[in-house]
Symmetry: C2
Subunit: 275 residues, 2 copies
């Protein structure tokens, strides 16, 4: 099975894929998120894996927008603990480095480390694993990169400082995308997106359709509707499978007050993250 992800080999997305698919897949690294959606849609790969939410920085909004635009199904989710490390050429020493490359979010999550090492000038890179690859390929002996240990392993580079992020509890939730729906599962979660009619208290009414049927919500996210000022799409996750009686009735009830509704998929909930 071919699995596409955004970023270079050794990225957190590839690490999440490794946990989800138990190593039985072929990696297809791509440069953009929308490239991942396209690759699944046009059949170049069977699955795509994309980060949707980080416990510190919040949602990856671009992926919410892409879920709406493309016609793919969510068939699984994977939580991954994010541990950033300072990675450099084997044999190099921390005190000899003068610069550090990484994705801006990763640099931001290692602010305390960077503050206490002012000799390291931060440089913004396209992605974390890509920064490791770049300092290797360009033989930048005085440069480090911030990335996961998996990136060091994949590119044959050394970890100089382990777990350098400010907040130890840092998790990312990834979604697995496919052209077809997942098989039925007992412990399922369902993701939907909808836009509401212009009625008084309409968001309350929308949430009622779940509360009245004891369906628990696990996430709600609003995104602006591009053509209608200050109106929103709501992305909502609830516990249950769309084929279950209660969920089916809730969706039917919700359709009464929506102008748009799309079921993004029902899928087994993720096992606990690796910590």
């Amino acid at each position: 099975m071919k699995v596409a992800f955004q970023g270079d080999r050794g990225s957190y997305s590839e690490e999440a894929a490794l946990r989800f698919f138990n190593a039985s897949f072929e990696s297809v690294p791509l440069s953009t998120f929308s490239g991942v959606y396209d690759a699944v849609e046009n059949g170049r790969v069977e699955r795509g894996i994309i980060p949707i939410e980080n416990s510190l920085v919040g949602s990856i909004h671009q992926n919410y927008d892409l879920l709406l635009k493309h016609h793919l199904k969510i068939v699984g989710e994977q939580n991954l603990r994010i541990v950033h490390n300072l990675i450099a050429h084997p044999g190099s020493k921390l005190e000899e480095l003068t610069e550090v490359h990484s994705h801006p979010v990763a640099l931001g999550q290692c602010q305390d480390f960077l503050d206490s090492h002012p000799q390291l000038t931060p440089h913004v890179a396209y992605d974390t694993a890509g920064a490791v690859k770049m300092i290797k390929e360009k033989s930048l002996e005085q440069a480090g990169a911030i990335a996961g240990s998996f990136a060091a392993e994949q590119h044959g580079m050394a970890i100089l400082s382990e777990s350098i992020q400010d907040e130890p509890d840092n998790h990312t939730r990834f979604l697995i995308l496919s052209k077809d729906v997942a098989e039925y599962s007992e412990n399922a979660k369902t993701s939907i997106v909808f836009a509401l009619k212009n009625l008084p208290g309409v968001l309350f009414k929308a949430l009622s359709v779940f509360a009245l049927r004891d369906l628990d919500l696990t996430k709600i996210e609003s995104r602006p509707l591009r053509k209608k000022m200050w109106q929103y799409y709501f992305y909502l996750d609830f516990v249950g499978h769309v084929e279950d009686e209660a969920a089916k009735n809730a969706i039917g009830h919700l359709r009464e007050i929506t102008t748009f509704l799309k079921i993004l998929g029902s899928y087994p909930t993720s096992p606990p993250a690796n910590d």
Copy 2:
């Protein structure tokens, strides 16, 4: 009255301030959002103005996080229509330009224009008005900048192409910050932030406290709680003043199911944007 904003003179924030304060204020341009909060908090300025939401790209999350961190009150809001223009040195011609500088969001909102002018290499700048200032100060005669007409005016530069954004309907909502609460107003809106107890259907219950009292919600936004994985702060706006009986009761009711609640301010709703 001194008013701080992020960005250079002629920025959209300064233009929004001009509409809100009717020109009777002294501008204090600062380089960061958190600098604006600090300036209000330490009394260097009386008011700050910050963008909170754009109708195309959504919320400015950093400002939601800063509202939580700082002890300031929202005392007003201002909607502003965003019109991007290609700005360059007076006398220069579009066909002579080879590069264009702007904030990445503004570049992204002018994608069609950039696609149809492939001779213009895009360069990322710190902010829109700052890009205009930079090409002026560095005498970059072959460079253009994408910014509002107010930026061209403030820096004595020329508009070569007007209204070059892909989507004509592009609005940003700004908030006005102060150390003290606003005077009571009839047509008020209230902004609050809260975290919920871990109870079944608790978000539904939270929204009930407003629905049961006919208080309309105008916005809901979730942001992760940094220390507790997959739990959220909810930022919510509702129509009404916190001193009104119904709003007071709703807030009291909400406190029964929250672990944290902060009232960010009650303030007059914005007049329609300039379009």
